[in-house]
């Protein structure tokens, strides 16, 4: 630690290093002795998510969808890795980029597409759209686009979990931009002071809208804020579904044992723009070279390489998955397109519990 006239000059904060280096971590995953069926389940889910997102991207490109859609392509591993650890009674909250989080919890693809199209069959009755997803039966308690807004809400779900005394926990998914909102710090302080069972799951994709993290924060590690609030934390490759699954399992166990909160920072990268289907060049963001390198850190392909090398699946398995999920996305999108919109009276009926 460098001291200058008694002032600590270099801080103690970690930097992401190779986790944020687009030219590293391209190799297949270390799958150790993880069972084949779990790995194949991850692969199936991530392919499903990407096919759904690509279908949405095409529809936005064609002008058929107006609702702002923040696509998760490239970041599929994070919610996929958490899902097997979530049980009845747990509560997950998310942000604007949450299609994957909905599907990872086995949310219904048709109801996601219907929601994006503003249809009555949507998971939020067509009232929310892409940014307001919910499926309480499957533990997804709500996603909203106000930056950082669900962080204190998840903290309160953690308070409820603590009061329930059943070993439940809450999960708060948020991005690196949320660390620039004061409410993250209020929430971490509250959770740490009250020992709440909450997993703070930061998806650091290095961008907030068009601005790289280097233009927004003096250091690129978000877990440094967990250090500041005395919260156990881990920073890892957000495109490694196996490592993420292990970390999330440890975090879940600590929360269930009453040793929460826990903070996980998953470093990843979004392939499309902040919102919409394009790759950001339209808003003047120069990241073409980086994006090409990040594509080599594809969470799906890296998992597949490991599965294939271990002989857990036939060579054609991946192609079959793509085919299956593309066909399913086409089918469910069409079905949603033909579904009815909410009735006009729902505009007022849904404001209060007992419509006045």
């Amino acid at each position: 630690m460098a001291l200058e006239n008694g002032f600590k000059m270099d801080g103690f904060f970690p930097r992401l290093g190779k986790l944020a280096d687009a030219d590293q971590l391209h190799e297949p995953l270390d799958i150790g002795d993880v069972p084949a069926d779990l790995l194949l389940g991850f692969l199936d889910k991530m392919v499903e998510v990407r096919c759904a997102e690509e279908k949405i991207a095409d529809e936005v490109t064609d002008g058929k969808v107006k609702c702002p859609c923040h696509l998760v392509i490239g970041q599929e591993a994070v919610p996929t890795a958490l899902a097997p650890h979530v049980r009845k009674g747990d509560k997950i909250f998310g942000a604007h980029r949450s299609h994957a989080h909905y599907l990872a919890q086995n949310g219904d693809l048709y109801r996601l597409f219907a929601e994006i199209q503003g249809k009555d069959d949507g998971c939020s009755g067509g009232m929310g759209g892409s940014m307001h997803l919910i499926d309480r039966e499957r533990q997804l308690f709500g996603t909203v686009p106000i930056v950082g807004a669900t962080i204190p809400i998840a903290t309160g779900a953690g308070l409820a979990s603590k009061m329930n005394e059943k070993g439940e926990f809450a999960v708060s998914f948020f991005g690196d931009g949320s660390a620039e909102e004061g409410v993250l710090h209020e929430s971490l302080n509250l959770a740490a002071s009250m020992k709440l069972p909450v997993i703070y799951f930061c998806e650091n994709n290095l961008f907030s809208s068009h601005l790289h993290i280097s233009l927004r924060q003096p250091a690129d590690s978000i877990a440094r804020f967990a250090d500041a609030h005395c919260i156990p934390n881990m920073t890892l490759d957000g495109n490694d579904v196996v490592a993420l699954h292990k970390a999330a399992g440890e975090a879940a166990r600590m929360c269930r044992e009453g040793r929460g909160p826990v903070f996980i920072e998953a470093v990843t990268y979004r392939w499309r723009g902040h919102v919409g289907p394009r790759e950001d060049s339209d808003v003047g963001v120069q990241r073409k070279d980086d994006l090409e390198s990040w594509r080599k850190r594809d969470p799906i392909n890296r998992l597949w390489q490991s599965i294939a090398a271990a002989g857990h699946a036939e060579a054609e398995h991946l192609d079959e998955l793509w085919e299956k999920h593309r066909a399913e996305s086409e089918k469910q999108w069409q079905r949603a397109a033909e579904a009815p919109y909410p009735a006009e009276e729902e505009l007022l009926n849904r404001v209060y519990t007992n419509a006045n």
């Binding site: 939020s124 204190p152 809400i153 308070l159 004061g182 209020e186 929430s187 302080n189 849904r350 209060y352």
Partner: protein
């Protein structure tokens, strides 16, 4: 003679009823374990019901309000206490963007039974940031019920109704009413959606419409005017969002005159809304004079005592406003 209950004690009695009868109710906010006990409106609750259900909090208005919402979405009925409206403004995102919209934007299937209790605490040279009311701001928000009790029994029973309501509620009480007394009666649990304006005093010449502390001003003005043979009807709105104008319109149809009294700023305020709600209706034709309003001037609250004296409305001002209609 039964026991007298003042407004501050009545609020405390409402909390006792809720915490004693509903295990899903808890309180969180700043100062709940302090000997000040939010102006003695929450005295010893943490002793009687435990610090796990009456939580004193870090200095985090936004975080605690969000946390209460999260608990509300998870099966509890939390009450967040912000001992001053001014500081509560730090928490507005969670009430306006989140709680008030949660039901609608998620398709009408999920409720957010969160109550935010905040307090108008003004006067005494406290200055611009220890003086605000701002209820009209919040009454503008669809999905957020806004409750403003004017009497001790309402302070108790409307708190209970608010907390038992499945929608988010902003309950605002006023420190200037804490010494107001009323005969104690048994607690009543009435669904909040069944609670609306009531007539506090019957009259035939002019309708005075108010809520919270302004009801006290209106009542005092009505007493003064009685000796001048002016008969005032006083209507206490009680719930200002959603606003039910039926009783006000019926009253003005009878009296032909309207004065709206509100302890907040003039522009885009509740008093203007009351007047619009009458003049845009069929009652317009019954008006014998242009409606008037008694509100605060559009300036931040001053600290200097002489300026403060002219800043806040008085019963005399209300009486003068009424005289101007004849």
């Amino acid at each position: 003679m039964g026991k007298k209950l003042n407004y501050g004690e009545a609020i405390c009695s409402g909390f006792q009823h809720l915490l004693g009868n509903y295990p899903e109710v808890f309180c969180i906010g700043q100062g709940l374990w302090s000997p000040w006990y939010v102006g003695n409106s929450m005295t010893n609750l943490e002793v009687d019901f435990g610090k796990a259900r009456v939580l004193d909090s870090p200095v985090s208005e936004l975080g605690c309000t969000g946390a209460a919402l999260g608990a509300a979405l998870s099966g509890y009925r939390p009450i967040v206490i912000h001992p001053r409206v001014d500081f509560f403004l730090l928490a507005v995102d969670q009430l306006v963007n989140q709680a008030a919209k949660w039901r609608h934007m998620f398709g009408g299937t999920v409720s957010a039974p969160l109550t935010v209790r905040t307090v108008v605490n003004r006067g005494g040279e406290q200055g611009a940031q220890h003086s605000q009311a701002l209820h009209s701001w919040f009454a503008h928000i669809p999905g957020l019920r806004v409750v403003m009790p004017a009497t001790p029994l309402d302070a108790r029973d409307l708190l209970i109704s608010s907390v038992l309501c499945d929608d988010p509620v902003l309950y605002i009480d006023d420190r200037w009413l804490y010494e107001l007394e009323e005969d104690e009666t048994p607690v009543t649990e009435t669904p909040l959606q069944e609670i609306g304006p009531v007539c506090r005093r019957q009259g035939k010449d002019v309708t005075l419409v108010a809520c919270s502390h302004s009801v006290k001003l209106a009542t005092e003005a009505a007493e003064k005017l009685e000796s001048e043979n002016v008969s005032c009807e006083v209507i206490d709105l009680r719930v200002i969002n959603p606003l039910d104008m039926t009783l006000v319109r019926e009253s003005v149809a009878k009296t032909g005159r309207l004065v709206a009294i509100d302890g907040d700023w003039t522009n885009c305020g509740l008093a203007g809304e009351i007047i619009a709600g009458v003049t845009e209706s069929s009652v317009f034709g019954a008006l014998k004079a242009a409606p008037a309003r008694v509100t605060l001037v559009d300036a931040p609250a001053p600290t200097s005592a002489p300026l403060e004296d002219i800043y806040y409305s008085t019963a005399d001002q209300v009486a003068n406003s009424v005289r101007g209609l004849f």
